[in-house]
Symmetry: C2
Subunit: 354 residues, 2 copies
């Protein structure tokens, strides 16, 4: 058995979160004077305020994380408090710039949004990422759906990810698209991530700032449904250049998408265009088109968003099958040409068909 | 102009939220020794901890809210701190019981959940509520999807709601189902509700405790997608008797629903059964059935949840049309008989078909 080191303890404590601040004790610089001596671990836990109501819980969580390590004989935690400056730095967001950010250079950041769930945001994100990669772009996908991530399954990729001195290395799809999703951090893709808002926000911020994206022409951000912490964090903390708004023909969807349009307008992020998914079903045997979710309401969204209708994607069972098989990169949808052009960085001419 | 009173100030401060606790200064009992003397307002703001990092923000927000009132000449805020007991009461959820709760008597509370968005949770909730009402039950629907509510549109109901001395009076559908949704509180249904987690949680708790539901046989709770604040609050703060888990044939959905099953198991709420929606499309002209979202994966969910498959609902454009027209109560789905039986209170025999 290898000897227990301070680094082992730090690694363990990097998984212990302050539930109010949504960041780890290590990241918050709460762990001081750490020493390990023949299995006896001592350190000071510097609280933001001495009367911190979470005090006992933090100590208990830290103790448990350390005691789970092999070779630990006992753990002694001294309570301390941060100086006023230190507290300001922690609470005021004066977080030191992570290393990865210094090495990332992202041309444009496009959010794929809807407000409504199950309309095909991840499908659109995946199809566009694949099309962008086919036309010679360096592409990344940040899966901001922390509790219901779809991106890994669409690309048939599982974790774990590798760390590097520059940060977390994103996964790579078959065609070289860089992917980051919470599912890469789970042992089993069916494992539940049950986090309140601050942790969701913190994860998304780290997917942006602590991941070594390197040089990208386009980063697509796949938003979850809803207009709460995840959407707010993406809009306010990531340098979003524009939004693609995904809708379906149902009036019910349109009502929720209208809310998302209002949100985008409220935070002043331009909507590049609207994509209508599930726009009817073309029976493969007879060629008959069925409006199974009713007639289109895309025009309402287009008017409200003052943005063009970029695509109407019908339901295609073959696409669903390829997505379920993790082969979204094999799907080519000519209907997405205008959407592709809208997110294509200037100067990049498509080398082939989308 | 009427004379400025303490009640005016309290009303104004009831809109000033503690952003960490997600409740107002008045609800948190932070406002003490309030006095108004010829336009001069004085009070003590009792902080949870004297060093509360949000101190300055709270004072500033309170001051602004008061200064917006006509007749206010100046505002003096003294800082104070709560006693240990008071702090425990506030942080430990020892909130005084609202009046409505004393007059509510709800037989069983059933959550309709999925984890995944757009699978038909609201459809299933609405269809079951209508079927329960048809068979003589007193039914309520609590729409816990605060940023993307669907219930009002399905039932064709808009706000505003009326208040009563007992609390907020829920809306009533044509067949007498009591409905509560954030959309009833908005001037325009397309208005965006952009709230972080604590406010979402607080709204859902109020939909339960401050609404005068009266006597109900069944209250159905329509959950939003995701497994964050809304789902946690419903599971932990409402007396949920059981969960109906909604899925669709896609493997992608199944993966996310597996997470929701894990969450239900983690918080120890029984899963009553599984409902598969969008289970193929039956062409109305030829009668051919198309598996447009691929073959069923419901068996996986059933095994994992150790709960029966209660229904498989195919896609029906007529149902979509009735839902978009706000006429979900006119939809009768015999496929839901087993689901209806599963949520039907004991002693109630269906008077007719579901």
């Amino acid at each position: 058995m290898s000897i227990l080191t301070e680094a082992d303890i730090t690694r363990a404590l990097a998984h212990v979160m302050d539930p109010e601040l949504g960041r780890s004790l290590v990241e918050l610089n709460m762990v001081r004077d750490l020493a390990v001596n023949d299995g006896a671990v001592t350190f000071t836990l510097a609280l933001t305020v001495p009367e911190c109501p979470l005090r006992d819980q933090l100590v208990e969580d830290a103790r448990r994380a350390i005691e789970a390590l092999p070779g630990v004989k006992n753990v002694a935690v001294t309570l301390g408090a941060m100086s006023e400056d230190e507290r300001q730095a922690v609470l005021g967001g004066g977080r030191p710039t992570p290393l990865a950010t210094n090495h990332n250079e992202v041309g444009s950041v496009i959010a794929v949004m809807s407000g409504k769930g199950g309309v095909g945001k991840s499908l659109v994100t995946g199809l566009l990422a694949a099309a962008l990669a086919r036309t010679g772009n360096r592409v990344g996908v940040l899966d901001a759906d922390v509790t219901g991530p779809s991106i890994p399954k669409l690309f048939g990729i599982q974790g774990p990810l590798l760390g590097s001195p520059l940060g977390i290395e994103p996964a790579r799809s078959r065609s070289g698209i860089k992917l980051m999703s919470v599912n890469f951090l789970l042992e089993d893709e069916g494992q539940a991530v049950i986090w309140r808002g601050p942790l969701i926000s913190s994860a998304i911020q780290q997917f942006w700032s602590d991941v070594h994206w390197g040089r990208l022409d386009v980063l697509l951000v796949d938003l979850p449904p809803g207009m709460s912490d995840a959407a707010l964090t993406v809009m306010q903390n990531l340098p979003i250049n524009g939004i693609l708004m995904v809708t379906t023909p149902q009036a019910l969807t349109t009502m929720v998408v209208r809310k998302a349009v209002k949100m985008a307008q409220a935070v002043n992020v331009p909507i590049l265009g609207v994509i209508e998914n599930m726009a009817g079903f073309l029976a493969p045997d007879t060629g008959v088109r069925y409006e199974i979710f009713g007639p289109s309401h895309a025009a309402e969204v287009v008017t409200m968003a003052s943005a063009p209708l970029l695509a109407r994607l019908p339901i295609d069972p073959q696409v669903a099958a390829l997505c379920d098989a993790g082969e979204i990169e094999d799907v080519v949808r000519p209907e997405l040409a205008a959407a592709l052009a809208a997110v294509q960085p200037a100067g990049h001419r498509p080398a082939g068909r989308s």
